[in-house]
């Protein structure tokens, strides 16, 4: 069975780009979310094997990507989350990893970098 991936990004374009890369590698995109709150709801509903998570979310949404990581890890301490964000600042990378993310990919990225990180985190 292919691993189920939940893609969280506010940008439709980026969700499609990530989805295309991962589908080509045989992963199943079980769902998409465009903000932190939706990510938490979809995680509970879909129980994905891995989540890709952006940090920047719409202003009106109070839960950003790191906040969503903390909440998902609280629900499921074994959750596998890979950050995919243009904000590659050291302090944010450290905060995301401390919150429980397993890797941090800075946008833009080479497709191979994403696939390699996801396979490694899934233990494939």
């Amino acid at each position: 069975m292919p691993a189920k991936i939940l893609i969280v990004d506010d940008a439709l374009f980026m969700r499609k780009m990530l989805g295309d890369i991962l589908k080509k590698e045989g992963f199943e995109i079980c769902g998409e979310a465009e903000n932190g709150k939706e990510a938490i709801e979809k995680y509970k509903e879909l129980k994905p094997d891995l989540v890709t998570m952006d940090i920047v979310m719409p202003r009106m949404e109070e839960i950003d990507g790191i906040g969503a990581v903390k909440e998902i890890i609280r629900i499921d301490p074994n959750a596998k989350i890979v950050m995919v964000s243009a904000m590659g600042q050291h302090a944010l990378v450290v905060e995301a990893i401390q919150a429980g993310a397993k890797d941090f990919i800075v946008k833009p990225f080479q497709p191979s970098r994403v696939v390699e990180a996801i396979r490694r985190v899934l233990g494939e």
């Binding site: 950003d64 944010l92 833009p108």
Partner: protein
């Protein structure tokens, strides 16, 4: 009035350095995103008082795509990224693997591709500023609109003037697949944030 605020040469040098490194990193990011070579000119970087901005933006009827991003965290303010509609069409359609003629300025996917591109470009600049100052700088998802310079200036006076009176203005020319583009980035740090930035960059008022 001179369009550039009188700041010390040390402060201007530091700003230019931020602009140059930021432009380099954003070109690298764009090259990776578009999967092609991107050349850049040495960017034009200056600190421009709000009331003089129209002089660097062009005629009041000139039309731009404006992407508006809030800056939060240890540094607060607003960033605006301006791109001419025809150039936005070419960049957006390149990202989507389409021809510029196929680009629909009202299409959700087209607007999303533009927003994501600007998110990544602004991210490159903010990451440079963060590296150089040690501040963690967060920013919000861009919102997008198309408007004329006159209306953009009105917006600045209504929504920006109460927090900030000058912009760090960075204009870079890019060459992508033999086509020339120029994008303007306007960063309005709040008054206290501008002081913090100069202090962290090692140049205080009057130095």
């Amino acid at each position: 009035m001179n369009e550039t605020k009188r700041i010390s040469s040390n402060q201007l040098d530091v700003l230019k350095e931020v602009g140059t490194i930021g432009a380099g990193r954003s070109a690298t990011a764009l090259a990776e995103l578009l999967n092609c070579k991107v050349e850049i000119s040495l960017p034009e970087t200056k600190l421009v008082p709000l009331e003089s901005l129209h002089k660097v933006l062009g005629n009041s009827e000139d039309l731009y795509f404006v992407l508006d991003i809030g800056v939060e965290g240890e540094i607060t303010g607003r960033v605006f990224f301006l791109l001419a509609p025809q150039q936005a069409k070419i960049l957006g359609s390149t990202l989507l693997g389409k021809s510029p003629e196929e680009a629909d300025l009202n299409d959700g996917m087209f607007l999303s591709s533009l927003k994501e591109m600007v998110n990544i470009l602004v991210g490159a600049y903010m990451n440079v500023l963060s590296d150089m100052t040690g501040f963690t700088i967060m920013y919000t998802t861009p919102s997008i609109a198309m408007d004329m310079v006159g209306a953009i200036m009105d917006f600045f006076f209504i929504h920006i003037a109460q927090h900030s009176d000058e912009a760090i203005f960075i204009r870079t020319e890019l060459k992508v697949r033999d086509m020339n583009f120029d994008g303007s980035l306007l960063f309005f740090p709040d008054l206290e944030s501008l002081r913090k930035l100069f202090n962290a960059l090692g140049v205080k008022e009057g130095e």
